[in-house]
Amino acid sequence: MEGLVYIALFAPFASSLFAALFGMTERKIFVGIVASTLLATAFIASAMLAFYVHGTGNAVHVTMMDWISAGDLHIPFGFIVDQVSVTMMVVVTLVSTIVHIYSIGYMDHDKSFNRFFSYLSAFVFSMMILVMSDNFAGLFIGWEGVGVCSWLLIGFWYHKPDVSREENPSISPSWAANEAFIMNRIADLGMLIGLFILYWNIGSLQYDKVFAAVPFLDGTVLNAAALALFIGAMGKSAQFPLHTWLTDAMEGPTPVSALIHAATMVTAGVFLVIRANPLFSLTPEVSYFIAALGTFVAFFAASMALVNRDLKRIIAFSTLSQLGYMFAAAGLGAYWIALFHLAAHAFFKALLFLGAGNVMHAMHDELDIFKMGGLKKVMKWTYLYMGIASLALAGIPFFAGFFSKDAIIETAWNEGTIVLWAILVITAGMTAFYSFRQVFLTFEGDERYKKYGIHPHEMYGYVLVAMSPLAILAMVAGFGMKGFEHFVTKLLPDYHMSEHTHHIAWFLGLVVLAFAVGGIVLAYKKYYHGLKRDEQLENSWYYKLLANQYYIPVLYEEFIAKPYAMISNAMWTKVDMKIVDATVDGIAKFLYKTGDTSRKMQTGNLSNYLNWMAVGAVLLLVVAAISAAAIG
């Protein structure tokens, strides 16, 4: 089994190195094929591990070597494959294998084809470290590693120039990449502090030791540690107020958005909360905060998705919103439901993004859904895929999202947090509305793209075939819920609805369903038959507020980025040059001045010197006499 662990972990790494060998040469199709094969190997290894863990109920624990040891701190490179991490491994490797294959088609015209595969595989490697590590420091390696890969991939088309915010809300890929990295760094500081708290109170960063020790810790320590770790999770999972980078990250190539910014990396925060459930379940206040924030973000992001015109950004907002659902579940203690929603979401959201990629590919990188419409004629398969994914996202019965999202909403009811429940239900309706608004505007109605001289075409056949597993999973994954519960609750605390909730579960489900169907019907009415723009609505203040993301990016720019640059500049020109350095130079100048003044004594005239000497001698005599008198 150990061999499989290493294969699953290092196959993506090998793939990355292999692609990097050709990183600076022109497109070589075999690079993509080799990378995809290696990723598939990792998937097979993960799946075999999953069977093993499922079959035996044992976790596989390997320690590769020591990493850092100083003082009492010992951090090994250790990997654990248990119910939680194996779930993540399977999801990550499955989605990334598909995304790799997809990218062969999607990136076929890009001259940096090989480089792309190198980055993408490096990302998968980092993500595997993140989920497989057996200690918090190892998790942090993966945590930062995915951050860098995300930076590289968002800024993949680094050569694009900066443009104004009106023209492109993300300004430029490189700007978006830096924003993502820095935002994540802010959160990472929180996470580091969390690690420090755990280390100094427990003396180790190994999961098993930490989780064995947390019940004996003081409440404030636990709260501080949980909060600090959650701040880390907020950055990676783009929770408010660190959320702006996620939509800007859509500047990256679409396969990247599918893999990193939908299916895997952004769920790392949720994974962290699930992984550290022994800690979070001891801190009800922090957990409640997580749930409340998650619910808020679910609604907040969904509201922005309602009016957005950018295909990818709408999906990004929906990702944000779904992450909110996951945090709500995790915060309310339903860890396994959160993990289930994470997995289901990975499937249908990746499918949705890849479908959006097909559309982009067809539309020559046009993303404005107001300029699309009627694409179903040329892109039947993509329409089908995106339709399935949107149904799953909207939570229509028997698609994957129905089971997982419904369970989350039910949990909110069960915990007695009616406000959260209500918001989550309303958000479910909004989700359905914006998903289908986007699907209808893209595929139905009049063919608005013709005006712009675009000739769309369907994606390559093999790409569509590669996407099919995701489509199937988006349809059927929900039926594995019972089995999944049984599997992961061997490690995670089980969560059961109370008798009362169980009793009215059908009713709660109906309420959610009513909202979801209502959303779809509304979208159908408004957008199915083509785009009718409503000037009055578009000029209303609330529409503008939503379209500008509540002006938060602008606020950040005006009140954080610009003042920071201004203060920095003042620090340099005013403080450093005018005060600190001027003081130093002032002292030096003073010494020069005194020398310059006393220099005049040096007349060069010997008799003058002799006079001074005599004065000195007399003074010495006087001093000697006085001191002699004083002593005498």
């Binding site: 040096q602 007349t603 060069g604 005239n605 010997l606 008799s607």
Partner: protein
């Protein structure tokens, strides 16, 4: 009776004369003379005190000073001659090449 005090007074007067010479004169040669006067003032004091204490060390010292003064004069006058040949003057006001 001429006692130690009288010798010391003579020595002090001689020293003061030498010092005045050093301070007031502008000609290097005269400065030289003045320093010689000061040295000899010290010699007088040495000899007198030595006699007073019945200790020959002071008188030996006076001889040393005389010997050193002689060699100093030999070197110093040589320098003066070179200086005079170079500058044509021994006036200190003309020789202020070390002005800072």
């Amino acid at each position: 009776m001429i006692g130690l005090t009288d010798y010391l007074i003579v020595s002090a007067i001689l020293f003061s004369i030498g010092l005045m010479g050093v301070l007031r004169r502008r000609n290097l040669l005269m400065l030289f003379f003045a320093t010689e006067v000061m040295l000899n003032a010290v010699n007088v004091a040495f000899a007198a005190i030595s006699h007073y204490y019945n200790d020959l060390t002071g008188q030996m010292f006076a001889f040393f000073i005389i010997a050193i003064a002689a060699s100093e004069v030999a070197v110093g006058l040589g320098i003066l001659i070179v200086l005079y040949k170079k500058h044509g003057s021994l006036d200190l006001d003309d020789l202020a090449s070390m002005r800072g």
